[in-house]
């Protein structure tokens, strides 16, 4: 089991300097009506053939990041500033018509609930064919062999028959495979997968994740995997970014981040998500709630809940000044946004 991961790591090591496919720079997104900044100065890079996981608790802005990259933001949301570069071209600067040509062709997306993402009145074959029709100009008839091939590729038995069936005839796992086939049919370079397995049974979850890993390996697909499940992250992600209240608080190679988390939030998240009894027999729960962080205009977003700040006695600094994302350990590219880490320099226990 471990060997798979090690293999994956080796490859990543080899293409360490592979070109960035998706490059988000200083992205700020907010809701004017709710007076809420959903994404706050976010920087994130996904390179070719790499799975980058974006984790964080509910409401931290993971989905908003994905939707911004697709430029399919909900009504009321607005981009304040920033760039979303795909192959070096800023998507946010494109006219809407040009954006249509990018979606599905260069950047594609997978969603949480595959069954409601499929049009109930159109055959799945038609929906998989759509990117080919739009981006390659194929007729439905010409696209059909590709559709069958795509279905077979994602592991759907009897693809010829299945291509003619409808969403309601599929199980959840199968629908997610179909969504993957549809997302990848015009061979985009990056796939944004927003909690693709949350709605699925655990046994099926592993199958879908395996498929994503295979796509990364075979097609050098870049994947931005959004999840709140650290176990999923540990299983397949090459790198991980932890998001809290709209910003990245820690980022680095998966093994480094999960083995030796630097940011107190990452540590707390890890500890609470294991659901293992602490010494007192109880579960660890992060004190307070994240919603308070939204109202803050300065300082570290996590400081109201941060025990480390208190124990280190740097509460004042945390409250008034914003830490920057800085290198946190020996592991290359492992950065965190914490005064405590910078103070102790060697990391915390």
């Amino acid at each position: 089991m471990t060997s798979i991961v090690l293999n994956a790591k080796k490859e990543v090591g080899a293409v360490q300097l592979a070109e960035p496919i998706l490059d988000i720079r200083n992205l700020n997104v907010g809701f004017a009506r709710n007076r809420l900044i959903a994404i706050d100065a976010l920087d994130l890079t996904v390179r070719r053939g790499e799975i980058v996981a974006l984790v964080g608790e509910s409401g931290s802005g993971k989905s908003m990041t994905a939707l911004t990259a697709m430029r399919l933001l909900p009504v009321g949301a607005g981009i304040i500033s920033g760039e979303v570069r795909v192959h070096g071209r800023d998507l946010l600067a494109l006219p809407p018509s040009a954006m249509n040509a990018v979606r599905g062709r260069e950047i594609a997306m997978l969603y949480q609930q595959p069954k409601i993402m499929l049009d109930p009145t159109a055959t799945i074959g038609r929906q998989i064919a759509e990117p080919l029709q739009i981006h390659r100009g194929l007729s439905l008839k010409d696209a059909w062999p590709h559709v069958i091939e795509a279905l077979r590729d994602v592991g759907i038995p009897e693809p010829e028959r299945r291509a003619m069936s409808y969403a309601h005839q599929l199980s959840g796992g199968m629908a997610q495979r179909v969504m993957i086939a549809a997302a990848l049919s015009a061979s985009p370079d990056i796939l944004i997968a927003d909690e693709p397995t949350t709605a699925l049974d655990v046994t099926v979850q592993a199958q879908i994740l395996k498929l994503l890993v295979r796509k990364r390996d075979e097609a050098s697909l870049a994947v931005l995997l959004i999840t709140h499940d650290l176990m999923v992250v540990s299983a397949i992600a090459d790198r991980v970014a932890v998001m809290y209240a709209g910003r990245i608080v820690e980022e680095g190679e998966t093994r480094a981040v999960l083995r030796s988390p630097r940011h107190p939030y990452t540590q707390a998240l890890l500890r609470s998500s294991l659901l293992a009894a602490e010494e007192d027999g109880r579960l660890y729960a992060i004190p307070g709630s994240a919603s308070a962080a939204r109202g803050l205009s300065c300082g570290c977003r996590y400081h109201p809940r941060c025990q480390a700040a208190r124990s280190l006695g740097i509460e004042e600094r945390c409250r008034s000044q914003e830490p920057s994302l800085s290198t946190a350990s020996a592991s290359p590219g492992h950065q965190s946004r914490c005064w405590g880490v910078q103070v102790t320099a060697g990391g915390m226990q």
Binding site: M1, T2, S3, I4, V5, A8, E57, S58, S171, G172, G173, M174, D201, V202, T203, V204, Q205, A206, Q207, L209, K210, V213, H228, L230, M231, V232, S234, A235, I236, T254, R255, L258, R259, A268, L269, S272, S273, L274, L275, A276, A277, G281, R282, L283, Y284, A285, I286, S289, A290, S291
Partner: protein, 341 residues
């Protein structure tokens, strides 16, 4: 406190009479499409289990395997097709009127989705008042006091009383739902995935709360979940369900360390419980859980089972002991290590 209560149950894992026993329970739903054709959904298809006083009994299984249906049947919220449910020796089928009402005070449920479990038009106070006034417990003043006390018990306060559900967060609402269930001082509390709609950090808080309350109120609990981590943390004994049937039933430690049924094994593997080890993806059985409308013949897991043999497709295995209090429904149970207690 929790320690002592847990210790208590551990010390006496099998008292003589079960609090609740479910006996070969069958519940089939008849469904009909727009163009007709009746189908039977075999949601619960012959389930037997005993819940002992004071224990936390876990039911795990993947979506649609019949966990909630079983819970509803135990609460007599849905008529059953066959089999019996005995609560402290009384057959639920015989209950009606006043006796049903008093049974309701003994067994309560916490639902998965707290938003759906509370009437959006009622204030928290009205929702909490309903069980007390319906059972004519205490004077209005006493009821008020009881409600406030219970709110404090679940970590909320009286400022929530005038709020509507839409003005509270999911975690807060789940606390209200728990408070409402406990107001009647039940002896058996069924939790149907109480945390699966909640965030990871809140999940821990709710589970802590439930364990606190369990010891304070001397509750027996049935914890339904598809999250093995929750079950592993909280339960004393665990039943694993697959497609309307119990496939394995044993104490928690036995189930997790020495699963006898291949499905249990697969489920544990797929859940990636041991996460400190950064690892790859586990080997999982192929395919997905079939529809309960037309379950496979023989052993329902056999099409996905790596150990299947001809027999598996023909004969449904019985839930049989594979050693002491460890039961499994498999023709070829895993002969592994003996449970290490």
């Amino acid at each position: 406190m929790i320690d002592t209560s847990l210790a208590n149950h551990r010390a006496n894992p099998c008292p003589a009479t079960p609090m609740l026993s479910v006996d070969d329970l069958v519940k089939h739903f008849r469904i009909r499409g727009r163009l007709g054709r009746q189908d039977l959904v075999r949601s619960v298809d012959g389930v037997s289990l005993d819940v002992m006083p004071g224990e936390v009994f876990g039911i795990v299984g993947e979506s649609g395997c019949g966990k909630s249906t079983l819970a509803r049947a135990i609460l007599k919220l849905t008529p059953v097709d066959d089999g019996r449910v005995l609560f402290e020796g009384t057959d639920l089928a015989t209950l009606s009127g006043a006796r049903l009402k008093s049974f309701r005070r003994n067994v309560q449920i916490v639902f998965q989705d707290p938003y759906a479990a509370l009437d959006p038009r009622m204030t928290i106070e009205q929702s909490l008042m309903a069980p007390l006034s319906q059972h004519r417990i205490g004077t209005p003043a006493e009821r008020n006091a009881a409600i406030v006390a219970m709110l404090h018990e679940v970590g909320l306060d009286e400022t929530f009383l005038p709020r509507k559900p839409s003005e509270c967060s999911g975690g807060q609402l789940q606390r209200v739902v728990i408070a409402r269930a406990l107001l009647l001082k039940p002896r058996l509390l069924i939790c149907d995935e109480p945390t699966s709609a909640l965030d990871a950090s809140i999940r821990a808080q709710i589970l802590n709360l439930l364990m606190d309350l369990k010891s304070r109120f001397g509750l027996t609990m049935i914890m339904i979940s598809h999250d093995l981590r929750v079950v592993r943390y909280i339960c004393d004994r665990v039943a694993v369900m697959y497609l309307g049937k119990v496939v394995e039933l044993a104490s928690r430690d036995v189930v997790f360390s020495n699963p006898a049924h291949p499905y249990t094994k697969a489920l544990i593997a797929a859940s990636m419980l041991d996460s400190e080890e950064v690892g790859g993806l586990p080997e999982v059985p192929e395919g997905e859980t079939p529809s309960p409308i037309r379950p496979p013949s023989g052993c329902r897991f056999h099409p996905r089972c790596s150990r299947r043999e001809a027999l598996c497709g023909q004969l449904p295995p019985r839930l049989d002991t594979v050693g002491g209090a460890h039961w499994a429904a498999c023709h070829f149970p895993q002969s592994g290590r003996k449970p290490e207690v």
